[in-house]
Assembly symmetry: C2
Homo-oligomer: 711 residues x 2
């Protein structure tokens, strides 16, 4: 009875969120599209986005199909069910990304139009509404997908235990995370490729302005912002959310199976996520710029209100269920860690710093000395920024574990209860993802609107309004990035625990993982190999951007050479071809790394055993977290150091200004693939390999058992 | 009886090595000092080296004294014995560094003189002999120090078990490694400070040539090469060697205590090290340039011969003791890993690459595009270079473990036997350190000789001879660097095991570490915090170089401003003041990081417990290894990319040559603190924190027991 109520609440909250998202989409679509020029500029981007989606999704479909067939074949038992879950997970993730990209490209000109006709507030409304489409969409799809799959397999496969049902649903999460990897890492390669190639041939070789429509890569570049920032980040947060709910459900169901408490812990994560989603739906409606018209506080107020609402809803639900409120504390521990990491990222990447500690201003001083000083100080501050964030994660980990290990009053307690506490902390941290993502997606939309309004030659006040919107978007983005890393770190730690818990259902008692003993050289070897995964993957992504931009540069030069009319403005360049080249090239650069990460995961388990595989996941998380924070924050700091040097407050008449500015441009160029390609992809990569280990566990165990002569 | 024979052999081999080193020192000192000009140029450097030593050693002495008193107070029981061991360890390490710096500064002009008067072969002989003083010295001191301390405490403290004796001797290793940290990291900051400051004020501001004696920092800069490359690397390898013998002895003595086999495993590591030292002494005498006169093959031949000799000696010893030869295999597994890592470093940092895979030539192509491309590709290749090296270490780890776990015929077997196998692999890898270090120290000596001969205006043939010597020195250096990282990684893994083993003797049975379970959130939190240690430390070192060079720049400018005669060449600059500023500044930058690393280690154990402390060490090793390899290899690759672009084979008339060259200079400037300061210091840092954990274990356990209410 409670179980059905839990499930029903979750699915209905998900449907509510999707409904609100679609309704908002319609509202955005009906907004004024602005004047001819705005429509012209932005129609190209919208068309470009469709081209991108066509190519990208064809490739994704092919990848999904191949993997679906493989899964169905390789798995005995529930192979078909896992395969179906996997395909649904991929499709759901693709649908969310689709909606996100489309609404963003539609919203650009509409935000610009609102700014031109009505000023700040109407423009803010359009942009934030468009952002909330993506935010509510991903929150809703996660709930509907997970909830209805559980209901489906529970009905179709009677007698199968809840733990096993959740292991089948791992396929859904795996689908979400592989698509997210393509969206985030592939999108990251795509964006930087287009950006770099457009600049090199356009600005440097042909000396035409940035975003000039004569540049065949101009549309590809503009589409990139929507692809990387809206769809990529959305997919990343979505997949962390799905994975955190899944991990907590696996661990909760295991507790249910052993102690059969009154409350189904296996479904509790869904309910918590549902409360967060409801809070986000309400929160989104409460976001209104105040009379001062400054949009920054409005966004923050929305986030705080949603958090408070979420807490109230959780407490109400727990009271209604006659439960101790300890469970709310887990979720709050997670939320605090997320806020702390966001705050740290802000200290290390903003021009304010914290008190006398001012990393970015110090980097500006370094840029005044030499380019090498700037690179070295940015890198060093990036390294330093890892320290507080990781300490925050370690604290949340220990706090939620201790809480869970002592929560005997709610039927938890012990090591298992403690680990479930950690998993719930991850769910709590991600529960309000609908609201967080809404604020985040708002950023690139206003950024693009600013581009549209400038090119359309709108009046100065309209541009100023867009500038103001843009500034608040950047702050929101910095915070979301820290949030995304913290969320995925704790989710991956929960997945790590879920993987270990899943080994209990293997048919080989010898292979059950009870401890992941780092003093065992096999486990240490696994951890060392795991540490290599984010390291090698980042290297491949950064080198991939270079190779891919090389291809696109060749194409742009070819177009200019074959049709001199393009540069004269008499004939239209072939934008689509550039988009296609950047898209397929990105997938081509990404594929080896992805396949390798999946293969190495499976091989480590097969050859070194499941304990070593657990060590491998541990090593990957530890190094991955360090690398992700280092690259995200140093990249962000270089970007802002450049912005300071370009800002009107900086003395442009100082001696050697040109050189200092060049140094800052170099820093930003180095930081771009750090912060937009490699850094944020590591989160998703960690989720992918953790899910690979859990999903393929039966197959890996079988192969290892065969190799070691167990069967 | 066997024990006495073992101990006697080790101490005698150590004395032999020291004797040969001192005899060789005398030979080098008696060699021709060259003409007036050579003596003049190099006398300044020698005086500068003494200034450096005076300041550096005064600081080191103070640090040692404070810590010695603290240790004597804090430890109950054997506090005084540990404190004495610690002081002796520091002093021994300082003595080795002293001899190394002095012989190197003496050898510069003598090598130059030999090149001028006799050509290639005599010059090679002087340089290599001088290098071998450092090599044999560190190998000998390790054996004499460890062997005689064991003999001493065994005689003075009758009835104390061997395991406890080795824990007292941990103080010796701790002394060696703290001094090594100052030598390596402090020396690294010193060197880069002097280099950077001399270039900025001299070359850029005043436009005087590099190494110009009018530059007040010229001597500091020249001393730096001897300080960082000779004394720093020597101290690093020395401390890894001592730590590996110590770790293996702790683990061996624990096996002795449990199973009391015929052979004292606790003393076996010393014997293996003694065989390696004897092999090195013989090997050093066999290094002779062939009739072709190319010194590169001569160095390599020396290394190979020493390895073969070592293997023969080990096999003979084992046969003489009627032992299975399996033990020889452990050592060989370690040696193979070391050779493999050296080979990998070479592929990633040399201009040859491997087959079609050519990282450095690809980086030259990137430099032709833009500085950002060069930085990004160097960083990416640095990341990629981590992959094969770490796999090599993982393989050596698993192989030696499996060998040891199955070596029941020699009285090993089981998990403990396996872990002892890993420890012996580390000892094996480091056994021939006398020879390896001789080849390595040769490098900076010929490099400096080249500087002396050029400034002394020697004939062209003599310079060409020095160039040839220099080229072979660079290859030897690349290989040693890889070797040093591999050696320290396996040593630290052995220390990790020794730490766990040491917890067995604690008075609190509850605190004994049996497994380091990464699935336990406390252990994972420990691992996350451990991962931060190399990350934060590297950041502090790189930022330290910037701050320290700032101080030195101020001093150079002051001298130029206050005495215009300096630039006119009429008055002598105050070289000593620059040296003092760079030396004290380096220590000032290093001290917070060092104290923090020691404190965090102790605090993690105190607050989170010993399991978490073990996790902490594990996390530090995993991330530290990645960071060290990344920074060493990307730094080396940027350096060589610049060398290619500056070489006569590169087309200096290509379009934009100036810009390409500037890009490569930038890459090298970024890489310098990576490869000469932060990267190589991480090895030593890992040893320091591992020894801190082991040495302070009783104190940490006491505090943790008090905190958790156990006492």
């Amino acid at each position: 009875m409670v179980a059905e109520a839990f499930l029903g609440t979750s699915i209905l909250s998900g449907i509510l969120a999707i409904f609100v998202a679609l309704y908002t989409f319609r509202q955005v679509n009906q907004a004024d599209e602005g004047n001819e020029r705005m429509r012209e500029v932005s129609a190209l981007i919208e068309e470009g986005a469709y081209s991108f989606i066509k190519v990208q999704y064809r490739n994704l479909m092919a990848f999904t199909l191949v993997l679906a067939v493989l899964i169905a074949i390789v798995f005995s038992g529930f192979g078909i069910a896992i395969s179906i879950s996997y395909v649904l997970g991929s499709l759901a993730s693709m649908a969310a990304g689709y909606v996100g990209i489309i609404v963003a490209t539609k919203a650009n000109r509409r935000t610009a139009a609102a700014a031109a006709s009505g000023g700040l507030n109407p423009a803010f409304n359009v942009a934030f509404k468009a952002g909330s489409v993506m935010g509510l969409m991903i929150a809703g799809i996660a709930l509907v997908g997970l909830g209805s799959l559980y209901w489906l397999w529970n009905s179709l496969l009677p007698g199968v235990e809840a733990t096993e049902l959740w292991e089948i649903i791992t396929g859904f999460s795996f689908g979400a995370s592989t698509v997210a990897l393509f969206a985030k890492a592939g999108g990251g390669i795509y964006t930087k490729t287009a950006d770099m190639a457009a600049d090199i041939v356009g600005k440097i070789e042909q000396r035409i302005p940035e975003d000039d429509p004569r540049n065949p890569a101009a549309v590809a570049d503009a589409v990139g912002d929507n692809v990387g920032d809206v769809a990529g980040t959305g997919a990343d947060i979505y997949d962390s959310n799905v994975a955190s709910i899944l991990a907590a459900s696996i661990l909760g169901a295991a507790i249910d199976a052993t102690y059969s408490p009154a409350l189904p812990f296996g479904l509790l994560p869904l309910v918590i996520a549902a409360m967060g989603t409801i809070a986000s739906v309400i929160g989104v409606f409460l976001v209104r710029p105040g009379p001062s018209g400054d949009p920054g506080p409005a966004l923050n107020r929305g986030t705080y209100l949603t958090t408070v609402l979420f807490s109230v809803l959780v407490v109400l639900t727990l009271s209604f269920l006659n439960l101790d409120l300890t469970i709310a504390l887990f979720a709050i521990a997670g939320l605090l860690a997320g806020v702390f990491i966001g705050f740290t990222s802000d200290v290390f990447t903003s021009d304010r710093g914290l008190g006398g500690f001012k990393p970015v201003p110090n980097m500006v001083v370094a840029a005044e000395k030499s380019a090498a000083n700037l690179i070295l100080s940015g890198y060093s501050y990036g390294l330093l920024s890892v320290v507080p964030s990781v300490i925050g994660i370690a604290c949340a980990l220990v706090a939620s574990f201790v809480l869970g290990a002592n929560a005997t009053s709610v039927g938890l307690g012990g090591v298992e209860g403690g680990i479930f506490g950690v998993a719930i902390a991850a769910v709590g941290l991600l529960s309000t993802n609908g609201m967080i993502m809404s604020s985040d997606a708002y950023g690139p939309i206003v950024d693009n609107a600013r581009g549209v309004i400038e090119q359309a030659g709108a009046p100065r006040e309209a541009i100023a309004a867009c500038d103001k919107l843009d500034a608040s978007g950047n702050t929101a983005k910095a915070i979301t990035k820290g949030f995304a890393i913290g969320a995925s770190a704790i989710s991956v730690l929960a997945l790590f625990a879920a993987f270990i818990s899943s080994t209990r259902h293997l048919p080989f008692p010898e292979l059950v993982v009870t401890v992941v003993n780092l003093a065992n050289p096999f486990v240490m070897a696994g951890a060392l190999i795991g540490a290599l995964v984010p390291v090698g993957f980042s290297a491949m992504l950064i080198l991939g951007v270079e190779d891919n931009s090389e291809r696109m540069i060749t194409e742009i030069r070819r177009q200019f050479a074959e049709d001199p009319g393009i540069l004269e403005g008499t004939s239209k360049p072939d934008y689509d071809r550039c988009i296609t080249i950047a898209t397929t090239g990105a997938i081509r650069e990404l594929m080896p790394g992805t396949v390798m990460a999946i293969m190495v995961t499976i091989m480590t388990g097969t050859f070194l055993g499941l304990n070593a595989l657990a060590g491998y996941l541990g090593g990957a998380v530890i190094t991955g977290l360090v690398m992700a924070l280092l690259m995200d924050n140093s990249g962000g700091a270089w970007d802002n150091a450049k912005k300071i040097i370009e800002s009107p407050d900086y003395d442009h008449n100082r001696p050697r200004y040109e050189e200092v500015h060049e140094n800052s441009v170099l820093g930003d160029m180095v930081g771009d693939p750090f912060k937009d390609t490699a850094g944020p992809s590591i989160n998703t990569l960690l989720v992918v390999i953790s899910l690979t280990a859990t999903l393929f566990l039966p197959v890996i165990a079988q192969m290892h058992a065969w190799l070691t002569g167990l069967i």
